[in-house]
């Protein structure tokens, strides 16, 4: 069910990428074949937005037609039940085509040569960038915290002032109004969530970087964490209201209860993961599409390519600036909705008055 919903939701977004992907000929794979390979926009875009086992920065075409790739090959970590763990550099797999019973398929996906089921825990490009963002975040915020410990209640300066505004905003505009007395318990999660998403959104906008938050695994994990907090923080009132809503005729209950259950428990965190994923993916898709236009037109004629490049660069810059806004906006939306959902399941309200929730009632 989930996947169907996803496909329907994302169909307009993905038509571009998926359409071009019909004949998958990867640039890397085609490299030895040579110089007159045609530019494939869909393939290029898919290559940029999907995860990979190498961090590819640029390709330089030499005079003799061969290509030189500036690429970091990342560690591959695989687990096959019964056989155990194996870890090696992707370079080995890439060079030889198969290694230790694992091989690459035409999509550069790792498969087992004997077709057994296995788990991939590789440090992929996305994982590498997540680790980078982890180091960045810890360095950034621990240094800011040091400043507070050193200077006590002195007026904030520089980076500290910039960060403080956001922390205070999350605390006073997101956590406290929604979660009330429980705000302090969830504040570290909300702060980490906001900065984690925002910083990864911004890192994803850097040329050559992975679009971590545009990956459904990452957003699904974040939504899962919010879901866990929703469930662990839920109170009796929340379930009571869902399974026996006050003042509802018994005949309606078989319809109402599943709907309520779906919307409150399943769809809310699900909407979180889709929203962030789709937003961050869409921006990249648009920018990459504009870039592709240049090469598609250039393949027709040089003049068309130059003309298209002016148009494409202008629009790309516009979308890029828009993405800077979207980066912070989506981080904020994910955070405030997480706080809202947690507050909804954990709200306790007495039944004396006529169903006035403690928090804002919203439909998502």
């Amino acid at each position: 069910m989930c996947k169907c919903a996803l496909v329907v939701l994302l169909f307009p977004l993905l038509s571009l990428g998926a359409g071009g992907n019909a004949a998958p000929v990867s640039s890397d794979q085609a490299a030895p074949a040579g110089k007159d390979k045609k530019f494939n926009a869909g393939d290029m875009i898919m290559h940029h937005i999907t995860d990979s086992h190498e961090w590819h920065f640029l390709t330089i075409k030499k005079k003799d037609g061969s290509e030189w790739h500036a690429t970091i090959y990342l560690p591959v970590i695989l687990y096959t039940p019964g056989e155990g763990w194996s870890a090696f550099s992707y370079h080995k797999l890439h060079k030889a085509g198969s290694y230790k019973g694992y091989a690459l398929d035409s999509h550069h996906k790792i498969i087992r040569t004997d077709g057994k089921h296995f788990y991939d825990f590789s440090l992929t490009k996305n994982v590498a960038q997540l680790l980078l963002s982890m180091v960045l975040m810890i360095a950034l915020f621990v240094s800011v915290a040091r400043r507070y410990q050193r200077q006590g209640i002195a007026a904030p300066r520089g980076l500290q002032a910039a960060v403080e505004v956001i922390i205070v905003f999350i605390r006073d505009q997101v956590a406290r109004p929604l979660l009330g007395h429980r705000a302090d318990r969830y504040l570290p999660y909300l702060l980490t969530l906001f900065f984690f998403i925002w910083i990864n959104n911004l890192l994803g906008l850097l040329p050559g970087a992975a679009n971590v938050t545009g990956n459904i695994s990452v957003t699904a994990t974040l939504a899962l964490l919010t879901f866990i907090l929703m469930m662990t923080g839920s109170k009796r009132d929340f379930w009571l209201h869902m399974f026996s809503p006050p003042g509802v005729p018994a005949a309606v209950l078989p319809i109402l209860v599943p709907i309520e259950f779906l919307s409150n428990v399943v769809l809310k965190p699900f909407a979180l993961l889709i929203r962030l994923f789709a937003n961050m993916l869409a921006g990249h898709l648009i920018i990459l599409s504009f870039m592709s236009i240049i090469f598609l037109f250039a393949a027709m004629s040089l003049a068309a390519g130059i003309g298209a490049s002016i148009f494409s660069v202008a629009f790309s810059v516009f979308v890029y600036l828009l993405e800077l806004l979207v980066a912070v906006l989506q981080a904020y939306i994910f955070t405030i909705l997480s706080a809202l959902f947690i507050s909804e399941t954990g709200a306790t309200h007495s039944h004396d008055h006529e169903h006035v929730p403690a928090t804002v009632e919203t439909k998502h």
């Binding site: 994302l10 810890i138 915020f141 800011v144 915290a145 209640i153 960060v163 922390i167 702060l191 699904a220």
Partner: protein
């Protein structure tokens, strides 16, 4: 669709990275930062309250000061008035006293003059009497050189005495 299938590996690593970030930042960043923010907020509140209190105190002091000044001004006016009156009274008294003294002195002088005049008159009378006696003695001595005349005179005088 590779794009829409969450991968277990990446989900695992995301979870690991996020939880590490969460626990480290909660312990070493958010807690000290939020504590510092609370402390600063409390300090600012306290400072504002103290400022308000001081302002109130200053206002009170000022009004007290004003009242004191007003009182002092009134007292000054009162003292000046009192002094003025005292001055006038003293002057009036002095004038009266002076007049009385002058009158007394005048009276004394008058009396003195009277006394001196009387003394002078007595003295004058005595002198005149003495002189008259001397003159009379001389005249008598001259005139009573002979016996008849002496007798004549005694007679006359006796007559006179008797007439008196």
């Amino acid at each position: 669709m590779q794009l829409l299938q969450p991968g277990l590996g990446l989900m695992f690593w995301t979870l690991v990275v996020f939880l590490i970030v969460l626990f480290i930042l909660r312990r070493y960043a958010w807690r000290p930062i939020l504590q510092a923010l609370d402390q600063r907020q409390a300090a600012i509140d306290e400072a504002l309250k103290a400022a308000e209190r001081t302002r109130q105190e200053m206002a009170n002091l000022k009004s007290e000061h004003e009242a004191l000044l007003q009182q002092a001004r009134q007292e000054r006016i009162a003292i000046l008035g009192e002094a003025n009156r005292a001055k006038e009274r003293i002057i009036a008294e002095a004038r009266e006293k002076a007049a009385a003294e002058a009158a007394r002195l005048m009276e004394e002088a008058r009396r003195d003059i009277e006394n001196r005049k009387m003394e002078a008159l007595v003295d004058l009378k005595n002198q005149i009497g003495n002189m008259v006696v001397d003159v009379a003695e001389k005249v008598l001595r001259h005139q009573l050189a002979n016996r008849e005349e002496q007798e004549e005179l005694i007679r006359k005088l006796t007559a006179e005495l008797t007439r008196n």
